[in-house]
Amino acid sequence: MSNSTTFVPAQNRSVLWMRLLLWTILLLFAIWFLLPAYVVVGTSLKDLAEIRGGSLLALPHELNFTAWRHAWSEACIGVTCTGLEPYFWNSVTMALPAVTLSTLLGALTGYALTKWQFKGANLVFALILFGCFVPFQVVILPMAQTLGLIGITNTVYGLILVHTVYGLAFTTLFFRNYYVTIPDELVRAATIDGAGFFTIFRRIILPLSPPIIVVSVIWQFTQIWNDFLFGASFTTGGAQPITVAMNNLVNTTTGVKQYNVDMAAALITAAPTLFVYIVAGRYFVRGLTAGSVKG
């Protein structure tokens, strides 16, 4: 909207109408996109009678957290009725080390590829980049064999290894593209000052990396926490991550289908990723665009 229109009263009205129209459209879209989230949250707070009796869109009569408690600590997953709690901690013990490891290794690889250019560095980078396009399904069989060889099948450690290795391609890409924007002269100056490969990384490169670390952590956490395929393929029973457990919880029905518990379980499963986005989301875009503008 141009500023000049605000000085002309006759045009003011039409501008206002345009604004109203715009807001209405935006509001409609917002409602449309928020509707599923509303249904999930609303249903999780109702009891079964209310779900059966009322409409899908009706507000719950009261804030009833019974379904949440049930999903967290009582619901049956297969034959064990422990709720999602142990699986939640499985996912935490899987995601935290896997995110940390893949981010750190990606940073180190990106640093080596940009600041210690060796012959064929670009070819190596191209090959690593290729890893981003390898679908999960392709690596399942060789990965299962490898895990069997090492002897960590059906453990959280196995999943940590799988996610770290699979995530490396992405984290390397992030860090490599970020580090090419850091001037090489910094590394040269530090070399002359007497710092070695790891000292330069720790003292100069890492302190410049928070924006891209945030990107890598969000990306990796979302990928690893939300992963279903690797979890379902390489673990059974007690070692399952929460995504697999939630699926099993929904599929385990004894008599009545408990929609409220299913919804609560879905929300519990999604909560950590939501939390990471809310806390660090604004750094995400900042990190992705960092370095693209000089200055």
């Binding site: 002269e185 040269r188 100056a189 070399t191 007497g194 302190p207």
Partner: protein, 371 residues
């Protein structure tokens, strides 16, 4: 402090030869400027001295120690970079102290050294700031401080002033000169700015296509350039090149040129008798006469020896102290430097004096100096 010796240094990237056997011998405390256009290999040579590039062939030594395979940190050198390369996450004080810290100097000693250097560069009040909070000139000082604090044998400068504005550049140039005098350290300075080279250097090495064209004092480079490349590179405005033919005269030797004056071309015989020995074999052959603008000036003020004749002034450019007059000789532009008070009254044709004793003569085929 130590001497620096570069013996037949060659640098190759695959089949591309960037440096083709450079020999430079630098005495203890000497200030060498590597001058050349971009891509001439001057920065490569500096990086080879620093140890940031490997030496393909040849030998580089500091003092009597060959440093070809010595790690940069053990070469006892310090380098100032064009972009300053300050560590953005560290304060000024930590930036300066980093090199000492890496060498395991204890903290109290480090702090004392940093403070001393900061005082010397008049930036002791900036020690707690981050580089992003500094102006360009201040950053430049920090970069110098970082080099100074370690008291290295050899200082290396990679175009350190090219990111500064004109006024600051002059200030820092003087500062570097003063620093050199005070420390009496061996310094190697890379630049493409010929004025920086002339003002700073004890000796200048002019590089072109990976070869040293001339290695000499600024005065010698300016007055006795070994070839037309050097003559054209150093000096602003550049040397005039006048293509002509050598002929015998009753006095000795001369060269005829056509000078436009009063609306017509007039033949003028430039006297080459001062250069008899070098032009004698060239009688009847082509030659290039190189004349600095200041060797062509207003008539009536020079020595008796100078030759004077009328020439039409095409355009004048006032530079303050002097005015440059653009003349037309042999159909080409020739620049003369005239004192500005004199130039204001001239219009059209005026008398110019030419000091042929200061002329440089070149063979047009090889472009080298005739001596």
């Amino acid at each position: 402090m130590a001497s620096l010796t570069i013996k037949n240094a060659v640098k190759r990237y695959g089949n591309v030869e960037v440096l083709k056997g450079v020999d430079i011998d630098l005495e203890d405390g000497e200030f060498l400027v590597l001058l050349g256009a971009s891509g001439c290999g001057k920065s490569t040579l500096l990086n080879m001295i620093a140890g940031l590039e490997t030496v393909t062939e040849g030998e580089i030594s500091i003092g009597d120690r060959v440093i070809n395979d010595v790690h940069p940190k053990d070469r006892d050198i310090a380098m100032v970079f064009q972009s300053y390369a300050l560590y953005p996450n560290m304060t000024v004080g930590k930036n300066i102290a980093f090199g000492l810290e890496m060498r395991g100097v204890p903290k109290p000693e480090r702090e004392a050294a940093v403070f001393e250097v900061a005082k010397m560069l008049q930036m002791d009040h900036l020690l707690d700031r981050k580089p992003s909070q500094l102006s360009g000139g201040q950053r430049q000082r920090v970069a110098m401080g970082r080099a100074l604090v370690r008291r290295p044998e050899v200082f290396l400068f990679d175009e350190p002033l090219s990111n500064l504005d004109a006024k600051l550049r002059l200030e820092m140039r003087t500062e570097i000169k003063r620093l050199h005098k005070r420390l009496n350290a061996t310094m190697v300075y890379v630049t493409h700015d010929q004025i920086e080279a002339l003002t700073l250097a004890d000796r200048i090495a002019i590089l072109k296509d990976g070869e040293v064209q001339q290695l000499a004092s600024p005065a010698e480079i300016y007055d006795l350039p070994v070839n037309m490349f050097v003559a054209g590179l150093v000096g602003s405005p550049p040397m005039n090149f006048i293509a002509t033919k050598v002929s015998r005269t009753e006095k000795g030797f001369g060269a005829e040129i056509y000078v436009r004056a009063h609306g017509a071309e007039h033949p003028i015989l430039l006297d080459l008798t001062d250069h008899s020995t070098s032009v004698a074999p060239f009688v009847g052959r082509d030659i290039v006469i190189g004349l600095r603008p200041e060797a062509i000036t207003q008539a009536g003020v020079g020595s008796v020896e100078t030759q004077s004749f009328a020439s039409e002034v095409d355009v004048t450019e006032a530079t303050g102290a002097d005015t440059l007059c653009i003349l037309n000789w042999n159909g080409k532009e020739v620049m003369a430097r005239v004192s500005s008070g004199y130039a204001q009254i001239i219009e059209g044709t005026m008398e110019f004096a030419v000091d042929m004793s200061r002329a440089s003569l070149f063979d047009p085929d090889t472009e080298t100096r005739l001596d």
